[in-house]
Amino acid sequence: MPAAPTSHTPPGTRTARAATVGVGVLVLVPALGLAAFALDPPPDPFGGPAPSLLDLLAAPGMGSLVLGTLALGLGVALGAVLVGGLLAYAAERLDFPGRRWLSVLTVLPLALPSYIIASTTSRALSRGGPIGDLLGLQRFGGVLAAVVVLTVATAPYVQLVVRAALSRAGGATEEAARTLGASPWRAFQHGTLPALRPALAYGGLVALLYATSDFGAVAVLDAPVLTWRLFEAVTHQDLARATLFALLLLAVVGPLYIGTRVVRGDSAGPGVANPRAAARRRPGWLLGGAVALAAVLQIGLGLIIPVASQLSWVLDGLHRGLAFAPLVEPVVHSTLAAAVAAVVTAALALGPAWGAGQQRGPWHTASEQVAYLPSAVPGVLVAFGLLLAGLALTRGLGHAEWYAPLLGSGVLLVTGWSLRFVAEAFGPLRASALQVDPRLWQAARVLGGQRGRYLSSVVAPALAPGAGAAALVAFVAVLKELPVTLVLGSATGLRPLPYRIWDRYSEALWHDAGLAGLVLVAVALGAVWSTLKEPSA
């Protein structure tokens, strides 16, 4: 009997397409939930009339909320691009003592949740804090303080993306500009900056979305922004008002998002294969001073103050003989939840990543869009949209008994985390998928290889490092995540470390918050350290 004809399409293509469609549908769920509540708002919990968007806009203080959100988003995006871009340039193109250490230490704030940076710096830099008293500062708070803290939290993302772009760009065009008589700045402006534009815009976008999604840091620093009001409305179960805040947040972030896409533009041209590294140069006093300032900001506010402050809170608790709440449960909850979410997130990103790495044309574009779409809106909106979708399901179908198990089982929470971080997991997986040349399948077929053997002996080993890196990235991200955890986690009974820190900080139990924070930072730092050593990450 003749053998069945083998498909010309590489194995996994159809599965990847089906997975991409599935993730695409899942991505739409929060949007559908939000739309359902916007079109048919629920009754006011106190029996009042349902609020309208116009009422909300006319409410006192709303203007300052919108302006505060805009200022926060733009300020953090600009700050992160400046600080992260400068430090990336220093790490890749400058030559000075301690460069390697500086490039690692300035990325480590990636492991610290913004609410820990915010709570420790606000105490240290305000009156009564060691630095606040030294410098005579009154209060470290408000939108400006939130911009500083969130810049420190997001600059490492920009730094990593821009470093990779600088390394890809090589040094030839900048050197060409110099041989044509251009000053170092003009050579950088024309030789390197155009190649960095997409990375800078992408980094700025990540920072912008992080800032407009965060409500831990803005709450601690008492910064009046929409996210915080949205969370307050959710905790008061005022879903109609929360929906309006969500729509308003979307309306504020939307133009900023489009603006970043316009700045990003098309890639200025194809990269150079195996580019020669640019020669490093000694910085002048102005550039050296700027790099030193950025490094002090990152390492001081993002690493030394948080770790030292939390350590001092713990030591103070010990000195005063205060009782510490056991940490076993939060650590177990955090580790298990982050591990499950990391595996689910990596699995969710696998289909689109394989599709983006192996296909060209519309499927390639669709795979990328699907993976990046959830990161195009603030994470808190993804969580809130999922919550509303669950509620809409019970409202529409009339089966309230479905909703409680859906929330209680943690399915929505894990979905929320996975959607929130699918883009982060997508990057390393796609990089691995690109390593599998589609012609390898043709070679395997010529050699008589079967689909199963090809998948197990060629595809799986190639994807394994990327999958590991993707899971690690998602693990760290989930470990310190707060907005999704607070919105979707309350009903699960899950009490992970961020929840414990937030809870103890709200109760002013510094010693407990400090101990939980130190444990979280230690675990996350270990994971970030191994992520930095993983080339495919």
């Binding site: 030839a172 050197e175 060409a176 024309h190 155009p194 580019p275």
Partner: protein, 338 residues
């Protein structure tokens, strides 16, 4: 008044850490002269080029551009942007966000910029592409943009870093001739860096052979292309400049005794223990002790492998051999090296 020498390099040396890269490199490029620097990969060609351009400060030696000292024993006097060197990079390094015309105009200032760009685009036959982005052009067109951009500032010397490395072999000859035409027409002194002997011998007025030495790459021979090829000073130079087989030889006055016969020696050859055999320097004579092996087509003729007591030797012929048994005889007096 005599124009200053466009490029003079004196006793240039450089090391990366403990590893020597260049050692006592000295040479000049005269006005309007096209000089090729030929050497194997890793011998320090690109390091030398970067040192001349100011992209690297050499540890020792002096570089003068148009009579002006730009670097001397590790002390840089003139930074890259004020050296007036034109550099055509291996991957061209064009600015992807600028049009062809803007790329060419990058290093220019003043009211005559537009005229200068127009004349260079005409010289490089790129006028119809003035408004296009570099990435929309073919490899050969991109190379001409890089050349026009480098020529625009009227540099003291034009440095060409393996400009044909990314070009299809079939196009190399045409592009090489085109490049030489443009350089010669512009009266520009140029230093072509290459590891390809055909490029070096075919395009340059003079060839410098950079060969590995104990402390790094050093100039082993300098001369006209034909002289370097026909009269190499060493087996290394002979191997770098073309296909060569070396036969042991016992010199007796103007003759040399080799395992293949006694042959006349070139009178200019002093000393030497080995005879340099190039494929085109021998002829096949029907009937002899050696056997014909493989015959390779090498248009317009053939390359014939002859199995001798000294191993296989390739001989160039215009016609396919008719006999299986041959002997070998040189067409001209042979050249010897140590």
């Amino acid at each position: 008044m005599t124009p200053p020498t466009p490029l003079s390099v004196h006793a240039l040396g450089h090391a990366f850490g403990q590893v020597g890269v260049l050692d006592q490199v000295s040479f000049e490029v005269g006005p309007g002269e096209v000089v090729a620097l030929l050497g194997p990969s890793g011998v320090g060609k690109t390091t030398l080029l970067r040192a001349i351009a100011g992209l690297l400060t050499p540890g020792a030696g002096r570089v003068e551009l148009a009579g002006v000292s730009v670097v001397n024993d590790g002390l840089e006097h003139v930074p890259t942007e004020r050296r007036r060197v034109g550099l055509v990079f291996q991957d061209y390094a064009l600015f992807p966000h600028l049009s062809v015309a803007d790329n060419v105009a990058f290093g220019l200032q003043g009211p005559s910029t537009a005229d200068r760009v127009a004349s260079l685009l005409a010289l490089t036959e790129l006028s119809p592409f003035a408004g296009r982005r570099p990435q929309t052009l073919s490899g050969g067109q991109q190379q001409r943009v890089a050349l026009a951009r480098a020529l625009a500032t009227e540099p003291a010397v034009l440095l060409l870093d393996e400009p044909f490395a990314n070009v299809d072999p079939a196009l190399r000859l045409a592009l090489g001739e085109g490049l030489r035409r443009i350089v010669v027409e512009s009266g520009q002194a140029a230093l072509l860096i290459t590891h390809d002997r055909d490029e070096a011998l075919g395009l340059a007025d003079r060839v410098l052979v950079l060969a590995p030495g104990s402390k790094g790459g050093t100039i082993a021979q300098s001369g006209l292309p034909d002289a370097v090829y026909s009269h190499p000073v060493s087996a290394t130079v002979a191997g770098l400049t073309g296909p060569a087989t070396f036969l042991p030889g016992l010199r007796r006055d103007d003759e040399v005794e080799t395992p293949l016969g006694t042959w006349a020696v070139d009178g200019r050859c002093i000393g030497g223990t080995r005879v340099v055999v190039r494929p085109e320097t021998l002829q096949l004579i029907v009937g002899g002790p050696w056997t014909i092996g493989r015959v390779r087509s090498a248009p317009p003729g053939f390359l014939v492998q002859v199995h001798t007591a000294e191993g296989p030797i390739w001989v160039a012929t215009s016609r396919r051999p008719t006999s299986k048994k041959v002997r070998l005889s040189p067409l001209d007096p042979v050249w010897m090296v140590d």
